[in-house]
Symmetry: C2
Subunit: 567 residues, 2 copies
Amino acid sequence: MKFSRVTVPTLKEKPAEAEITSHELLLRAGMMRSVAAGVYTLLPLGCLALEKVEDIVRDEMNSAGALEVVLPSLHPSEPWITSGRWFAYGPEMMRIKDRAGRDFCLGPTAEELITSTVGRTAPSYRDLPVNLYQIQTKFRDEIRPRFGLLRGREFRMKDAYSFHADEDDLEDTYRRMYEAYSAVARRCSLETRVVEASTGLIGGDVSHEFMVVSEVGEDVLVYCEECDYGANAELERHEPGPRFGGEPGSLEEVGTPGMTTIEEVSGFLDTTTAGVVKCVLYVVAGDALAAFVPGHREVSEAKLARALGTDEFHVMRDDERELFPAVTPGFTGPVGLSGVRVLFDSELEGAGGLVCGANRVDFHYRGAEEGRDFTAEPVADIAGAVEGDRCIRCSGRLSLARGIEIGHIFKLGTKYTSSLKVDFTDREGVLRPIIMGTYGIGTSRILQTVVEQHNDDGGIRWPKAVAPLPVEIIVVAPERSEQSEAALRLERELAELGCQVLVDDREASPGVKFNDADLVGLPVQVVAGKKLAQGNVDIKTRYTGDRREVSLESASGEVERALAEAP
Amino acid sequence: MKFSRVTVPTLKEKPAEAEITSHELLLRAGMMRSVAAGVYTLLPLGCLALEKVEDIVRDEMNSAGALEVVLPSLHPSEPWITSGRWFAYGPEMMRIKDRAGRDFCLGPTAEELITSTVGRTAPSYRDLPVNLYQIQTKFRDEIRPRFGLLRGREFRMKDAYSFHADEDDLEDTYRRMYEAYSAVARRCSLETRVVEASTGLIGGDVSHEFMVVSEVGEDVLVYCEECDYGANAELERHEPGPRFGGEPGSLEEVGTPGMTTIEEVSGFLDTTTAGVVKCVLYVVAGDALAAFVPGHREVSEAKLARALGTDEFHVMRDDERELFPAVTPGFTGPVGLSGVRVLFDSELEGAGGLVCGANRVDFHYRGAEEGRDFTAEPVADIAGAVEGDRCIRCSGRLSLARGIEIGHIFKLGTKYTSSLKVDFTDREGVLRPIIMGTYGIGTSRILQTVVEQHNDDGGIRWPKAVAPLPVEIIVVAPERSEQSEAALRLERELAELGCQVLVDDREASPGVKFNDADLVGLPVQVVAGKKLAQGNVDIKTRYTGDRREVSLESASGEVERALAEAP
């Protein structure tokens, strides 16, 4: 494969559209080009890398006993209306009418479609389990597409759907898919943490996300440094902390002029941030809600939504304050508060020596004690975790990190089979709804995550399992016949060993070629240059930077060895 | 792989939706299910067969020097507007607005998109040629989807686009793609005829269609029985025939009461159908047009469109007749006709002894002679070919046949690069528009065409290159351990030889299993049944029906041999 084609249109400068390293590198290394916001073309090298990822996914799916199918992208609206998701999905679902005016969507996921298809085969317990998957282009009209393939509007994913006669059988397949996803990540050189996650619009009771820890991740995850507990921050549970606050004492009102932040108040009153009761004011269905959490924590809106049973709320806006005279923004506290709905984080139960707002501008209380000066009722787990919290399983230290979600698996139960009336006949001849699981992994997202995790100042450092090609030969001066002939010979020898090669035979300066080779980042580089006068070439392992000079005769064997040793 | 999953939901009865054999068989053999009109799910065996086809296509494309890319399905409207095709494409193009109201289409083809992408790399002559392809889901909102995957609204195709500095280089790639398409058809066991075709909405000067001769085909092709000339009927040219008609004589008006068809008139007046001048009345831009062709031919509307320079015309409807009193429907002839636009097929030039309408109800002329009684002017090639016409190249006999178009290749010239202003820098440093070719082949259509061409009363007879799997083992009585163990052993031995097997281990009658095995049509069947008492199994080649009894010990080797011999 020759570099001297538009195959690899490398760029010297960082494109303006790139916000993060992997996005920049995929563009600069000529792997892809943007077509519209969140819509990309993968050029030949990007396509080859995606194929490597998808081949790994396919291999692991087949090993897990799943069978590949091809589902359409055009989904008729009917089963989506029946399941209730036609309306539950907002503008992220792309919808289209056909020429006869019938409604379709470009399926963002396919539970309804596959459930209807399997249902039409009228299965019996003998036909179960079934596990069907596809690797397909998906569409999601993100309000803010960004980060290249990480949050695109058109992307590639593998989605699988399993069907079972009972929970135990679902558990068995779920476990296999869990292992298969772990294997995919491992083979793609991605370190993952598997965390408990909320099931959202997909539904079901249990789900796990496969997270790659990365500062560019859009999710926050909480994990134990000692056991394997981990959860999305939206769902994490931690041990209740010590009862925060200062020494017991009597309630005292103190002036705190203009001090509305936890830091200002705790500093002024010489207590910890944890000793200050934080109040966040929300508007829920037209009413004010004062949510109280320890001052070193944030309110978790995902937890709040679960506690309230709705996600229809928002933080009170400045222009709404006059609608709710019962609260004193910046100085709202639980002592003596009335005329407003309240909700306490469970960690405030039994706490004493607290600082809290005095419901009077420029005043706080100190020495407040739950049970004596106010009652933490109603109470719920509504606060997020902080670094150093204790694990609910083993009391180990919890850490927080940002993560890129590459996969998500769900135990669905009968959510779709009940609404779509898809039953199987059990051993006794009784019709019962099939029990389902659903499993998604983003293949184009994995591609970019690999680049995000494996790069250096020079460019991409492809792990060999997902590298577009294993080897690049740099012909330093292609007009010199000994160099171009050596490259040709080595390319041929490597082809015989089943090893495909990118040959940089461009008329360009050696510096440009060396830089591009590092940027494109194939695992092994061979330099056919001046050393051929002594019959030698240089071999460089991109990941480690190790080089060695070897004879042209031994070069193909040495390339194989370097590849075997490369990450 | 076990049959006892919804993998292969075979059907005994012909589904009502199936109009042709291949559509019926793909449904009955459990290879696919319909989701909406023209929208299908491929179940595991259908998906495996599609993968085989696409692997062959990918292999031939790579051999032809094309590089795979992934283009998006969502195309922004801008380049389509610039090329003029946003409006030229009618309702067949599916269009969608994103949440911000921007227009996109689901690309039915990708000339605009790929041209823009390649253009942004600002190529020089050194970067050319480039040949990029993708294998992708495509959308076309057919007004009348039918015949399963042959005319679907969502389907799979490979599309390729090549870019060149000059015509010779385009010719070189065009030839390679021609060979690659021929190789794909051959490897898929499809006999094709390559015919000259019109370029339609894609554009360009030269194009060739790859046609599989089949009575269910929607195109008509004309081909020479002696040389390799062939053309889509829309475009064919044939030698002008002999001057049809009867003996020379004088013009005579004869009564032909109520006779308005060529057959009635030629029978009554004892001449050949070729000796009657056929008149077809059209309405073109609000005016009547009388088109005259020899009576044994049809007017070719594609040729008529080219002669008129527009395709905005239609056959005159009954309710339009009173608008055009100058013509006498059923009795319109060229002699003495005035007040109406006429167009003659070139074969009428110099013809004599003709029968034609007398422009008076219930009367015809006989003995009419061109040049004496009327003048064939203006004249053009507007008549279609008939069986037995003579080849324009070698005067061989022409045949007509219906064909399924599986591929179409085009020399585009600079149609897109001119309108989208995509230039390259030539050797002299001058900017010139890139010259393009475009090449499409329908992979899901090939899949169904294979089934249409390879079946018998029992079901599908997969050629081995595209069979979902090579072998089925039928376990006649799975509850008998010697049978299920023999199947397991053979499955394992074949797996070691790299040969995947479908095992029918269902609790069903032997008849059901034998019928399903023929229906599903894998190339080699092995029957593990009663003969195992003697240590033997039966091996059957599905295509030929040949059977032989072999020992279980030798079975895996015998299966390999049968496979090697199978078509």
